[in-house]
Every structure is written in structure tokens, then in C-alpha cells.
Symmetry: C2
């Protein structure tokens, strides 16, 4: 699959890029600063013979703000891993007016973007430890069944069990789980708490 | 522990009553209709020699609306298992204006009630199958450390591992997880999906 990661130089983006490149996908990470993207891509390309490209968000065919991405994302599968957390003390998670960041992205990109909310709970720390099994389910939701199939493939390629949590209106609760995991990480001094759904047939 | 369950004749309340009575606690379930509470209590008291009381919510020292419960709950540990789900189609979970039902209860009961949000994810179906291990963690949050200790005891008495998710401002995300589990139950034709936190020390 050809995958472009907007703002892919952060920990989560870099972790996903590494795992997907390892799975044989053609991955390019974008940054506002093309030089920074190239440097990060070179760094990530080292281990395990992975080749990751780096360019400006614009050159990836992407822009830095979602509104400008509308044309580029038409018909494409767009994965929203965004979680609107506020670390300033007080309430950690408040859903945005649309109900979730994923629904906000859908509203900005228009109905032709096939938005799937996923990968919020897969810790960057787990992603970056290559060769290490990730002990977390891939919870995802969205309105386009084929787009969800593509995301499930991207998850199973890194050994993740996917659990389909229905329509994009469930993205708020999925994003909120990250607040739960972030709090658990802090309280129990962990870097990589995750969640597994119980009761599913084996 | 002496435990009163407001509206305890429903599936979740009856399940908790059964498990707690089995653990040796002194449990009374309340209902608006005292006769209905007594009948349900008699039915629940049958198995395993449990004795559960039943009376009107008012007689349990409780009223049917939280606002009227303010005096009765002063200084007491109050467990909120409430999840504001809308099953009419569309969005399943929308947090109330206070952020969560638990924070709404805290606001109604005043600062002297020691509100803990917990037990949202323990399926009624799992609770009622006595002698059956419950494959789900007990996620809880609240502002009173001693109240959380009491709730953790109530959970460990039925074999649940407790995970402390910090302050009551995290109750919204905990309540939202129930929307995730309800959706999974519907999509995968289950009655008792649950969640486990991964990455915690054994």
C-alpha cells in the first residue's frame, strides 16, 4: 500500500512508519520542514533494511492543515489517530464539538474522504520497539467498510487483532480511551499500557 | 460492608447485589415499588444461601432522584455505574455537560458525597452467572482515595483486578468505553465483552 503520514516525524508517526515499512508498504513521512522529514526518514530507514521517504507535507500530496487537504484526500482512506488531550492539569479529555477529532477531520475533508479512526491506543513506545509483539487490540471505527478492511490489513501486518467498533460516531469513546491509558501510564509509571477486548471468540 | 443499591432490581443492580451478597456483604436493593424490591430480593436470595434485603428506595435511606439523596449520601461512598447511552440510532454516547454522569451525580449530591465511577464495564450477564470468573478489569476513578480503596475491595471480593484511572474528570472516558463494548456486543453477537488493560506489572 502507498501510505503518506501527515506530521510523521513525531513519535507516533515515526513508530507507524517504521512498522508499516517493515511490513513492505511504501511509506513517506511528511513534515512542514522537508529537511526535517528527510532526516527523520533517513534515521528510520536504517534498521531492518527499511526504506522510508521524507518530504514536505505538501510534496507528499498533503498539506499541513486538513482543510487544504480536501482535494488530496478525495476517495482516499484517511486514518485519524488524533486524540485531543490537554495536559495542563484538570480535565485530560474533552471531546470536540463534532464528538471526536475523527469526525472533525471528516467534516473538514468532506464526505469523499474515507475516514477511519484507529491506532490511538498503540503506544509509540511499542511501535518503535521493532520485532516486539504489541500487546494491544486495534480498535477502529468508520463509515466505509472497505476503508476499514484496508486499516485492518495494516494492523494485522504488524500482528494486531482488529476489533470493529462500528460507525465514526463511536470515535469519541475510542479517543477517550487514550486519556485512560495516559493516566494509567502516569500512575503506574509505564510507557505502554494498552487494552484488549475480552469475550470475543478466539 | 453495608451496601444499598438505588434501583437495584434491574439487571446490573441485581448482578452486583448477588455478587456482593455472595462476598458476605450486607446488601439491600431499593426500588420505587417496595413490593417489587422485596420480590426481587427474595428471588436473588435463593442461590448459594445469600440473604438480600429489599425495600423502597426511600426506606433504604435513599430516594429515587439524586437531588433528594444529598443528605443520605453525606460522607458515604457513592458508586456511579451510570452510562448515558442513547439506543435510538445515531450517536450512542454523548457525555453530559458535566463531562460524565458521575460528575453530574457529584454536582447533585454535593462535595460531601464520595463519588467513585466504577463497574460500568462488568456485564450484567457476567455478574449474574455466579461462580463464573469475570474476564474484565475494574476501571475506577474518583477524587477520594479512601473511597476508591473501598471500591477496590468490593471488586477484589468478586475476583476483579482494579485499575485506578485517577480523578473523577476521567469518568467520561470510562463511561464512553461502555458504548464501545455495547457496539462490540451487537456486532459480534456477544453478551459479555469486556476490557483488560495490558502492560501492567503482573
Amino acid at each position: 500500500m502507498r501510505i503518506g503520514i501527515i506530521g510523521g516525524t513525531g513519535k507516533e508517526g515515526a513508530g507507524l512508519a517504521g512498522r508499516w515499512a517493515q511490513g513492505g508498504h511504501d511509506v513517506t513521512i511528511g513534515s512542514r520542514d522537508a529537511e526535517r522529514a528527510r532526516a527523520k526518514a533517513a534515521e528510520l530507514s536504517g534498521p531492518a533494511g527499511r526504506a522510508i521517504g521524507g518530504m514536505s507535507n505538501r510534496a507528499v500530496g498533503l498539506e499541513t492543515t486538513l482543510g487544504e487537504l480536501k482535494d488530496a484526500c478525495r476517495g482516499k482512506v484517511v486514518i485519524s489517530t488524533v486524540v485531543p488531550l490537554s495536559f495542563g492539569g484538570g480535565r485530560l479529555f474533552t471531546p470536540p464539538p463534532h464528538g471526536s477529532s475523527a469526525e472533525e477531520a471528516q467534516a473538514l475533508l468532506g464526505p469523499d474522504a474515507r475516514v477511519v479512526a484507529a491506532f490511538h491506543h498503540i503506544a509509540a513506545h511499542e511501535l518503535s520497539a521493532a520485532g516486539h509483539d504489541i500487546d494491544c487490540d486495534l480498535l477502529l471505527c468508520g463509515g466505509d467498510a472497505d476503508a476499514k478492511k484496508a486499516v485492518i490489513l495494516l494492523g494485522s501486518g504488524m500482528g494486531l487483532r482488529a476489533v470493529d467498533v462500528g460507525a465514526l460516531t463511536n470515535a469519541g469513546p475510542l479517543e477517550g480511551i487514550t486519556a485512560v491509558l495516559a493516566t494509567i501510564n502516569r500512575r503506574y509509571k509505564l510507557k505502554n499500557s494498552g487494552i484488549k477486548i475480552t469475550g470475543l471468540p478466539a
